[in-house]
């Protein structure tokens, strides 16, 4: 299965190497509003995640991959592993560009501070995680073109969640978030979601006509 992850990065190394540069550069346009900055970070991470399925679809290599000595489960699992790995890279880039722009613009972008912080990071990761666990089963069930049609819907939901989450719950989120109980609950929710998503993807991919 890890070989497949290696393959994912091998085939996209041409695209993923320049990606951080663009990631950091493109975020500068949204520096003036925390909401746009956070959403743009999530979108760009999502774009990096779907770059692998897009390449597989554009070059129609699904058949060749399935003729390699690998099982369908390992293909699905490897896609999950590489997607979360890229989400991790996205988060790091998000923090780096946040800190970089705070140093450049110093005073006139005050509210960026709250987003580029622990809470902001947790919000960023949970939402990109949510996007990936929703996108992958759709991708394995419907193929890339149809699942991409759903991504604007997922985008609108996630940006409204950010708005609601940040505006209203943020106030008491700080004290609630720190406690181990909240971290435990978050963990349980995430792993539960992850399990369901993987299960659906494997079942869907088994039935898929390659």
């Amino acid at each position: 299965m890890l070989k497949l992850c290696w393959k994912d990065f091998y085939i996209t190394r041409l695209f993923l190497i320049p990606a951080p540069f663009f990631f950091v550069i493109l975020l500068n346009t949204f520096v003036f509003s925390w909401f746009l900055f956070l959403t743009a970070g999530i979108i760009l991470t999502f774009v990096m995640v779907i770059s692998i399925p897009l390449i597989e679809d554009k070059y129609r290599t699904e058949q060749i991959i399935s003729s390699l000595p690998v099982t369908k489960q390992s293909i699905v699992l490897s896609r999950y592993v590489s997607s979360f790995f890229i989400t991790g890279i996205g988060m790091i880039l998000y923090f780096v560009s946040g800190l970089l722009y705070r140093s450049i613009f110093k005073d006139n972008i005050s509210d960026l501070k709250s987003v580029v912080s622990l809470q902001g990071g947790a919000l960023f990761f949970s939402l990109s995680f949510l996007l990936v666990t929703v996108f992958l089963p759709l991708y394995f069930r419907l193929g890339i073109s149809k699942s991409l049609l759903f991504s604007p819907v997922a985008l609108i939901i996630s940006s409204s969640v950010i708005w609601v989450g940040y505006k209203y719950i943020y106030a008491n989120m700080q004290l609630w978030l720190g406690t181990p109980l909240s971290l435990f609950i978050l963990l349980v929710i995430f792993s539960g979601l992850m399990g369901i998503s993987v299960f659906i993807s494997i079942k869907a991919y088994k039935l898929k006509e390659l």
């Binding site: 663009f22 550069i25 493109l26 500068n28 346009t29 450049i104």
Partner: protein, 226 residues
């Protein structure tokens, strides 16, 4: 020419549904109240041509459909003329839809009355033809991937000017001054009193730009091998 337009509409029907969807979302999302009229005019004349020309061209590239279009009993000049006419049809359809939509569902009479003046319509026509005259040849010559690379290049240019200005310390940013000058130009056009000579000048210049656009795109298209 009617058969050409019908061909373009049938061939790109899926793209046109998506285009209609974007239009609906765009008109719902945008609230003309808090945008200055001249900026909304400029913005519309930028968004509408971009959507039509780019979206139709995307499908051509993806399905390599130019081979089919060029094999039909027509010559390349008429193909490009059909493309330009269809683009304008789509632009006006989107505009009419938008104005109707905002008239019925959004209360911003000021925007509507100002837009429906002959002068603003002609200015919109002039600005859109200017932008289309840049977009159509660019898309034919470099294809859609060219457009994306172009937008990214613009972005990087913006960043470099940003960094330069913040380093060099002078307050006024070249990029911002460029945008201001464009908006001032639109302001100048809007404030000019609508004498018939002025309106005629607007119309003639829009027509000239479109003629140039047609000739230049045809010239580029004849050069391409499929």
């Amino acid at each position: 020419m009617l058969k050409h337009i019908r061909r373009e509409l049938i061939f790109n029907q899926t793209q046109l549904y998506i285009f209609a969807g974007y239009m609906i979302i765009f008109w719902i999302w945008v609230d003309w109240q808090d945008i200055s009229f001249r900026f909304s005019l400029l913005f519309l004349s930028f968004v509408l041509p971009l959507f039509c020309a780019a979206s139709i061209q995307a499908r051509e590239e993806r399905f390599k459909a130019w081979t089919l279009n060029c094999s039909l009993p027509t010559n390349r000049k008429t193909l490009i003329l059909a493309r330009l006419v269809t683009s304008w049809l789509l632009i006006f359809a989107a505009l009419v839809f938008g104005l109707l939509f905002s008239a019925l569902f959004q209360e911003n009479p000021a925007f509507l009355s100002q837009f429906l003046e002959l002068k603003s319509l002609l200015i919109f026509l002039l600005l859109s033809s200017l932008f289309l005259a840049f977009l159509l040849p660019f898309v034919i010559r470099f294809g859609l991937s060219g457009v994306i690379i172009g937008l990214v290049a613009l972005q990087i240019l913006g960043v470099i000017t940003l960094l330069l200005t913040s380093m060099s310390g002078n307050k006024e940013n070249i990029l911002r001054s460029f945008i201001h000058s464009v908006i001032n130009a639109v302001k100048f056009l809007l404030n000019h009193d609508p004498t018939p000579a002025y309106l005629l000048l607007l119309l003639v210049s829009a027509a000239a730009i479109n003629a140039f656009n047609l000739k230049f795109s045809q010239f580029l298209f004849l050069r391409r091998d499929f």
